[in-house]
Chain length 298, copies 2
């Protein structure tokens, strides 16, 4: 349970001898030979499983995703496995958080491969249809009226309304003790934490460190849409975010390096940014000030 | 448990020998000598009580109110008492559902009397402050974008957003098996049911029949603001709602009878309306068509 270092689960494209950051936190559980998870495509199947004697009264860790699992997701699953008696992964490409229908269409769907990848860590996979999750046709929405309008929210109108609404639905369906979110989507994590606090949801939100490729690029299902040249260039994104003296300088340097910059913004010691390369949108964030002292981090 | 007829709890202004409709449903429990309920003014007190061994694993019935309890509320409490092992009453005059600050100011506050009245039926009373229930300063809101814009919603912009948001918060805080709402606020009941279905909230919403004075006027804390003459006139409101052939005729007859009419509307076999007398706003609804056959009811 306390073994350090990279897990056996890895991205297929990583070389065995290639240096890499540890994919998992030290508190990770080792995956053991495990039965195939229950895959629930219907909400009723899931509800029956959740209410069964083997699930009630046990701590439940929940990892909501849009699928196309990479090592970042695996880190969330491994942490959930280590901290809970039961682990549920949801895979749902949520239409209401895509303001661009093309982006929604292009989002990869690969349920079988995802289930295989998640298998060592999860007891169930919930993969419902949009019709099942939106019986109300999206008439009921959870909206945040301040922070959600900035940064990502300013560039993706309605995005966080879709995110918060679907997370709220899933939390009610799953009723987990803990839910796991990656720090890569920093603003999303902050808004979900805020929602849980504002609405008194009985769940603990666990934020997990961003998992990066060896060159520093944060893992994302969108990275695979980059050409080799753009993929190489993309590594400059977190590097310039971190090295610049302030957000404006970071934006200027990113533009000079060939990125189209949606925004770079400093907020509570974290520098968040979104850029485009070859039309592929990348987001990332780095801590530039200590969370307690707010002294600069270099 | 099956005794029919009026309960011992009555409105103080009712005469003993005055004919009255049964205040309680047949499934009602008889109140027994009961200890004083726990009154939680702080959320932390409530959370500790909810997590205590005497409360976990028991069925919990929840009656959310704005206080100023009358026999309509008592009917909800009695039904909750009959159907659950523990009963919680919340008393919270929710500022976000008042679009008129004057109406909010005038809303009666009488916690001690309310607790005394509820005592035979409840195990706990949750009476938090607005600051405690809105740590987010109302940044997070639950909105419905169709039915909530009509009828009451058209006349009270933002009203249902405030109602749904506070009900959502309270349901998370209380985590009841069942929550009880009066049918008098018909549109509210429909919207709360819709929210529970859309968001997959793990609670059963129980709608309870409107309790009326002997002359037919639905009980409401606002009735006490009417002069004796207006109070007598007010009984025409449900009567004309019911007797008219359609919504337009009901509105015309109400205006002819001296009411200021906000709206009368027929929806799914129920006629809903809102009127004003002496500036006091009254709402009510009557079923005009059978719920199954949609044949007219007379």
């Amino acid at each position: 349970m306390t073994r350090r270092g990279p897990a056996r689960e890895r991205r297929d494209d990583l070389q065995e001898d290639r240096p890499t950051v540890p994919l998992l936190t030290p508190r990770v559980a080792q995956p053991v030979a495990s039965p195939a998870p229950e895959v629930c495509l219907q909400l009723d199947e899931w509800r029956a499983l959740r209410a069964s004697p083997d699930w009630t009264g046990r701590t439940l860790g929940f990892v909501p995703t849009m699928g196309a699992l990479h090592a970042g997701h695996v880190a969330l699953l491994a942490r959930a496995r280590a901290e809970n008696e039961r682990v549920v992964l949801s895979i749902f490409v949520n239409p209401t958080q895509f303001e661009d229908p093309m982006d929604l269409d292009r989002y990869p769907r690969m349920l079988e491969a995802d289930v295989a990848r998640a298998r060592p860590f999860v007891d169930a996979v919930l993969a419902p249809t949009a019709e099942a999750l939106y019986p109300d046709d999206y008439r009921y929405r959870l909206t945040e009226y301040s922070h959600s309008l900035r940064q990502e929210g300013a560039h993706r109108p309605g995005h966080f309304e879709g995110v918060l609404t679907v997370v709220l639905k899933l939390l009610h369906l799953v009723q987990p003790r803990r839910a796991y979110f990656g720090e890569k989507d920093w603003q999303q994590l902050e808004l979900v934490r805020g929602m849980v606090e504002a609405l008194f949801l009985p769940v603990e939100i666990v934020g997990c460190p961003t998992v990066r490729d060896a060159d520093g690029l944060a893992l994302s299902s969108r990275n695979r849409r980059l050409s080799a040249a753009a993929r190489a260039q993309a590594a400059m994104f977190p590097r310039l975010l971190r090295s610049a003296d302030d957000a404006a300088e970071a934006a200027a340097q990113l533009r000079a390096a060939g990125f189209e910059v949606d925004y770079v913004d400093d907020c509570k010691g974290v520098r968040v940014g979104a850029v485009r390369l070859e039309g592929v949108r990348l987001i990332d964030n780095v801590r530039v000030k200590d969370a307690c002292t707010l002294a600069p981090i270099r």
